[in-house]
């Protein structure tokens, strides 16, 4: 039997199509025939009817039809289904034979041609003797036929031809060879299809008719056979519903057969075939659930039908094939548009197929382990005369024997041996791997990454069994990280163990070491004895010796491997392997920890490297080096032990280079940071731990950053969550879990040892040169150099403050806008220990508010740290917040010459301007001088001399001045008239002589000026005396451009007698003045009301006496009469 005996036959797997043969076509030499044939077979898409065409010569011999059985009574079937039957009806026995013949209706030699055609038909009929195959004739014509009924000759001759050929009119066709060939062909083939369906229908009827002759005892096999045939013909008829129904019946009948060891293979084979058909049709009908249900049923029914125990691998092979075939069907259906889901996809079937293939391999291994001396039997019991079996699923050495007893046990034995020996040559691993990779492809599609990984592990293991270690390793290595990242240590260990075997057998040094490292580590679930074996091997490898073989390896493979290892030893060359540990879990753990998150540059940077080994025996390492982001420090952090290779095992527990399992080893490193690194981060970029020796083999474990491997982050998280109390350890030991990696530290500048004091008198006054005295005193033990001062407004405040703050070192001149807000790096010189210096700063603040000032002192000092002289830059800063306030408030008011408050002033009439300076400063102020700058619209009445020169004002005191001014008539000015500026020059009383005086300019308010028609002023002495004449002169000035009629009257008063005009009416010309002279004679002493002057302007009724009272005095002080005589008498006395 062929090794592919389990594959389903092609004729079963194809889609059955009606078989139609075309005769009379010369497709080689006749172009017209060629074109007709091409039109039939080319471009057969789904919309064309399902027919398979074949061109055969007219005299082709079709398979002979066996004579019809009249009775089944004595007939005993030899098997279920003949191996050739399906092929016969698909490719050999046609449903319809078409005879092509070139004949036009107007053929001149019609008679001859007609009889030739009839002969041809007859020949075909002869070779189809006994079959129901239909025959049809197609006339190939050159002319386009006329519409039916019009061509009388045509219908006549057609009838004649039918008659001659014994054809019904429905079986005669005309194919005009014109432009529309394909159209005609499609119509033709539809007609053929109808004929074919009729044929298959009759075939079904024929098979059904046999049924009644059958009996249940002897013809059990025939029930199945006939049911299968009916179903198959239905399929050829394209009646898939009935086909499915019949297949289902057939399937049930198969399982009703009496099964015995001798025929179980046949039953299973047929059941498999029918099941395949059912599933296929179910998928075709888009009922995938039916297909799955049928398949499940099939498997459940057949799972236990193992058959002969000696050939149980055959059952496994068959099972495997069932699953694979179903998987293929499922996959095909998906390609045609079916949607599968994660839990129901072809992958599961391929996986199960692989599982059975594995089982087949196991069974074959145990059943076919014949000794090499046993020869393959001769003659070959598996050979048959025809080379093929007569019936599906029978044994070649007892074909057609239906008896359940083994007639010839010897023959049976030889047959079984032959099968077993054949099985031995099957490449099982190949089959398994193919199935697994099919499954992998499916699971990848349906989002099952873990299933995919699992199958890849199986593939890797299968490659390992197949001794393809390279591929095995590749697959295993690929999936390892998935299990590692999810923390499935048991599974990881199992995979690693296989991988270690592969790498051993290939003598792959680096892989061997890597897997050993991990198998010794904490992620490995191996027992201690295994671990210690692996560790021993690892040490051997490091000492450039061969490791012991891994257990359970193939003996021959081990021999090859030992040779490879021996070659490796003699091989000179690079024996240093660097292995990055961040991707796996090695048996040495490492954590680096700086003692502090930052170090001053003048103290050495200290950090610890913690190491812990998880292997069962102590191990010695040869070198440890730490790398930093600044590589200059690398040289300070190396531990190396010059030991010979063989010392790896000696004195293992002593020395700091030795790692005792479970114990945490702490290694302290220190170095002095570079001054350039001040303000920078020092980071451990990697830790390298070398195991072994350069003379032997050396493995460098490389931790990125401050240690940690694939599992440590999760462990750290767990440790952080844990609130378990850890048992007390001796002082010098620590718990591994409690160590937190700190892989970087900051280098910060040295702590300064100077003091910086600020002396000043807050608050600052607006615009003054505010003095800030900075005192720097050195407390260092040595001289400090290059002291520099940076002072001014602290950066980062409101931008407006920068504009309005100016700093200078020179207080003698006022600073302006060009001065900066911050003075940087003012060299101050060197300072000896204890020495102190003072620096004055002047700050001018243009606006009120609080400001932060920064004073920053930096210097250089030489320091010895760890016997190294370094120059440190230190700095100290002080900040101070200074409030700025106005030094004083200035109040200004306008009053009349009578010191009465004025809301407005009258043109040309003098008034008084009073200023009032109120000191708001907490410190005494000296007003150096003041000045009134009048606007052009104002004129002064007398001298504008300052009245407050060099006045010192304490807090809350005020200084006032008074100026007499006049505003000439200007007409009506909107918003008032500008008065001018008041300028005050001042400084702090405490300020030094050379400090400049600050001029504060105050803009005086505008004043509203009003014109009046008449101005009256009075000339009178400052006091009167009783009974002495008191002359009073009133000046009446006309301020208008009109002649004014004025009524004047003087009302008498009790205190005065007077002479002059009591009541008068007069006119005053524009711009002129009228004088009125009165002589008052006071009668009473004291402050007396003057006789009141009433003026009535006829043109200006608004001019009232009330207004008049503002200009002229209303009362006067009258002194009592003097005693002149008495004065003299007193003098005489």
């Amino acid at each position: 039997m062929s090794p592919t005996q389990w594959d389903l036959p092609v004729e079963l797997c194809c889609r059955p199509m009606a078989f139609v043969t075309l005769t009379g076509l010369d497709v080689v030499y006749n172009a017209v025939h060629r074109a007709v044939w091409d039109a039939f077979c080319a471009n057969r898409r789904a919309d064309r009817v399902p027919i398979s065409f074949k061109v055969l010569p007219g005299d082709h011999e079709y398979p002979k039809c066996r004579p019809k059985r009249t009775s089944y009574e004595w007939y005993i079937p030899k098997g279920i289904l003949k191996t050739g039957w399906m092929n016969k009806h698909l490719n050999l026995v046609p449903a319809l034979v078409v005879v092509f013949y070139e004949l036009d209706w107007d053929e001149p030699q019609w008679k001859e041609k007609q009889s030739e055609c009839a002969t041809r038909v007859e020949i075909v009929r002869q070779s189809l003797q006994g079959r129901n195959t239909k025959v049809a004739v197609v006339l190939i014509q050159k002319k386009t036929p006329l519409p039916p009924g019009e061509d009388v000759i045509a219908s006549e001759r057609a009838a004649a031809l039918c008659n001659a050929c014994e054809l019904s009119g429905k079986s005669l066709f005309v194919l005009p060879h014109t432009d529309h060939l394909v159209g005609y062909i499609i119509r033709l083939e539809n007609a053929f299809y109808e004929h074919a369906q009729t044929y298959y229908y009759t075939e079904i009827r024929r098979v059904k008719s046999h049924k009644e002759f059958l009996n249940k005892t002897t013809h059990q096999l025939l029930f199945v056979r006939h049911q299968f045939k009916i179903a198959f013909f239905s399929e050829l008829k394209q009646d898939t519903q009935n086909a499915l129904k019949n297949y289902r019946t057939a399937y049930n009948l198969v399982h009703e057969l009496r099964a015995h060891e001798t025929n179980i293979l046949e039953i299973k084979t047929m059941a498999g075939f029918i099941n395949y058909k059912i599933c296929r049709l179910c998928f075709q009908h888009n009922t995938p659930l039916d297909a799955i249900a049928q398949f499940r049923k099939h498997i459940d029914l057949c799972k236990k039908k193992i058959g002969s125990a000696e050939l149980s691998f055959e059952h496994a092979a068959w099972m495997s094939k069932q699953f694979q075939a179903f998987g293929d069907l499922f996959d095909e259906a998906i390609k045609l548009g079916l949607t599968a889901i994660q839990t129901q996809n072809p992958g599961f079937y391929y996986q199960q197929a692989a599982y059975y293939a594995q089982e087949r391999k196991q069974l074959a291994k145990s059943l076919c382990n014949h000794e090499a001396s046993i020869m393959y039997p001769n003659p070959d019991p598996l050979e048959t005369q025809t080379g093929v079996l007569d019936f599906y699923g029978q044994r070649s050495w007892r074909q057609g024997i239906l008896s359940f007893d083994l007639s010839d046990p010897e023959k049976e034995k030889v047959g079984v041996l032959a099968i077993q020996l054949k099985e031995r040559n099957v490449a099982h691993s190949e089959i398994i791997i193919t199935l697994l990779s099919n499954a992998v492809a499916q699971f990848k599609k349906y989002k099952c990454p873990r299933m995919k990984s699992h199958l890849m592990v199986q593939m890797g293991e299968e490659y390992y069994y197949a001794k393809d270690y390279t591929k095995a390793l590749k697959l295993l290595d690929y999936v390892m990280c998935d299990y590692r990242s999810e923390g499935w240590w048991t599974l990881l260990t199992s995979i690693l163990t296989t991988a270690l075997k592969c790498s051993y057998l290939m003598a792959q040094l680096k892989d061997y070491i890597t897997y050993s490292l991990e198998l010794l580590g904490r992620a490995s679930t191996l027992k201690d004895d295994q671990k210690s074996r692996i560790e021993k091997n690892l040490i051997n490898v490091l000492m450039n010796e061969s490791p012991d073989p891994e257990p359970d390896c193939d003996i021959f493979a081990v021999k090859t491997a030992q040779k490879l290892w021996a070659d490796r030893i003699s091989l000179a060359g690079s024996n240093i392997f660097t292995i990055g540990v961040q991707d796996f879990v090695p048996f040495v753990q490492c954590k680096a920890k700086f003692h502090a998150p930052s170090f001053h540059v003048d103290v050495p940077v200290e950090f610890d490297i913690y190491l812990k080994a998880d292997c069962p025996h102590p191990i010695r390492f040869s070198k440890l080096c730490v790398s930093f982001n600044n590589q200059e420090y690398n040289q300070f952090c190396v531990i190396e032990e010059a030991s010979k290779a063989n010392e790896v095992l000696e004195n293992p527990t002593q020395g700091k280079m030795c790692l005792v399992p479970g114990k945490t080893r702490k290694l302290l490193f220190k170095f002095v940071a570079k001054t350039e690194d001040v303000g920078k981060k020092i980071e451990i970029t990697s830790v390298d731990l070398a195991l072994g020796n350069e003379t032997g083999r050396c493995v460098v474990l490389n931790w990125q950053g401050g240690g940690g491997d694939a599992a440590s982050s999760q462990e750290a998280l767990q440790a952080a969550r844990s609130f378990k109390r850890r048992p007390k350890l001796p002082d010098n030991e620590v718990h591994w879990d409690s160590i937190i990696i700190q892989a970087s530290t900051m280098i910060i500048s040295r702590v300064p040892n100077i003091s910086v004091h600020l002396r000043h008198e807050p608050p600052a006054l607006t615009n003054e040169m505010y003095c800030l005295v900075v005192t720097v005193q050195s407390h260092e033990k040595t001289q400090i150099r290059d002291v520099k001062l940076t002072a001014g407004l602290k950066p980062g405040q409101d931008a407006n403050l920068t504009q309005k703050t100016h700093v200078t070192l020179h207080g003698t001149e006022l600073c302006d806008e060009s001065y900066p807000a911050l003075l940087t790096d003012i060299p101050v010189g060197d300072l000896h220990p204890g020495e102190q210096l003072e620096k004055m700063l002047y700050v001018r603040c243009g606006t009120v508010g609080s400001r932060m000032f920064l004073v920053y002192v930096s210097y250089l000092i030489n320091i010895t740290a760890e016997e190294k002289e370094i120059v440190c830059k230190c700095h100290k800063d002080e900040t101070v917040t200074i409030e700025t306030v106005f030094p004083f408030d200035v109040a200004v008011k306008f009053v009349s010459t009578k010191f009465e408050h004025l809301e407005r002033v009258y043109a040309d009439i003098p008034f008084l301007l009073m200023t009032d300076l109120l000191s708001a400063s907490p410190w005494a102020l000296t007003v150096v001088s003041s000045e009134l700058q009048l606007a052009p619209s104002m004129t002064t009445v007398d001298q504008l001399e300052s009245q407050v020169d060099n006045v010192v004002l304490q807090t809350g005191e005020s200084a006032s001045e008074c100026f007499c001014l006049r505003c000439p008539s200007l007409g009506n000015v909107e918003g008032g008239v500008a008065t001018g500026h008041y300028i005050i020059s001042w400084k702090r009383t405490s300020a030094m002589e050379n400090i400049p005086v600050i001029r504060t300019v105050i803009t005086l308010p505008h004043v509203i000026v009003e014109n009046i028609p008449l101005h009256v002023n009075a000339d009178l002495p400052s006091f009167g005396r009783v009974r002495e004449s008191l002359p009073v002169k009133y000046h009446l000035q006309n301020k208008t451009d009109f002649v004014q009629d004025v009524e004047i009257s003087v009302e008498p008063s009790d205190a005065f007698m007077f002479s002059g005009l009591k009541q008068i009416r007069l006119r005053i010309l524009p711009g002129t003045e009228q004088e009125m002279l009165y002589n008052f004679y006071p009668l009473m002493a004291g402050y007396q009301q003057l006789p009141s002057l009433n003026i009535n302007l006829l043109r200006f009724p608004n001019f009232t006496n009330q207004l008049l009272r503002r200009f002229i005095p209303t009362s006067i002080f009258v002194k009592p009469q003097g005693r002149l005589m008495d004065d003299t008498s007193i003098a005489a006395a």
Binding site: I299, Q342, T343, F348, Q352, Y355, K447, C448, P449, R450, M451, H454, V457, Y483, E486, G487, W488, T490, L491, S494, Q714, L717, Q718, R721, S722, F723, K724, R725
Partner: protein, 177 residues
């Protein structure tokens, strides 16, 4: 009864796996691990559905030839996986559900154990075994000391040794009053 039960952490690493046929433990480990594919998918589908009342039981994850794998997920995304023999027809959905509920209760008891650090692998072999009918109702606080000598010191917590009881009492004090 189930042939294998497993408790899987939120991060998908195993907290506890026990299988009754111990000879082929690895197979069950793989089976549980691969079933997480389906669990992940079901959980993400659930998250999308935004159902208020979360159903913890995930139903049958996938059938294999010989076993059925069932899943269950707690609100804290700890997964329970149970493998049942396919031939065992006595186990219907309801039985499986109640087994999961029991397992959940046992797991909650383990979490209540003050000596247990959430996320650690559950070491005790019988911590979660109340699932199987044969074992008695589990002790709720297991002390980490493997051998317990002498009579129980505390009636309420019979499974604690003297040392652990002392630690427990010390731990509980902040909660009192």
């Amino acid at each position: 009864m189930a042939v294998c039960i497993a408790v899987i952490a939120k991060e998908n690493y195993p907290l506890y796996i026990r299988s009754t046929p111990t000879e082929n433990e690895l197979k069950f480990h793989y089976m549980v691990h691969t079933s997480l594919d389906v669990v992940d998918e079901k959980i993400s589908a659930m998250a999308k559905a935004l159902v208020d009342q979360r159903e913890l039981y995930l139903d049958l994850l996938y059938p294999t030839e010989d076993y059925k794998v069932y899943g269950y997920v707690t609100n804290s995304k700890v997964k329970f996986v149970m493998v049942v023999d396919s031939s065992n027809t006595a186990l219907r959905d309801n039985e499986i559900r109640s087994m999961f509920r029991k397992l959940h209760n046992s797991y909650t008891d383990v979490m209540c154990n003050p000596f247990y650090n959430p996320g650690d692998r559950i070491q005790s072999r019988w911590a979660l075994l109340p699932v199987s009918a044969s074992s008695p109702g589990g002790p709720y606080f297991l002390c980490p000391h493997p051998v317990q000598v002498g009579p129980a010191f505390c009636v309420l917590l019979p499974s604690l040794c003297r040392t652990c009881l002392a630690i427990l009492v010390a731990k509980m004090q902040p909660f009192g009053k």
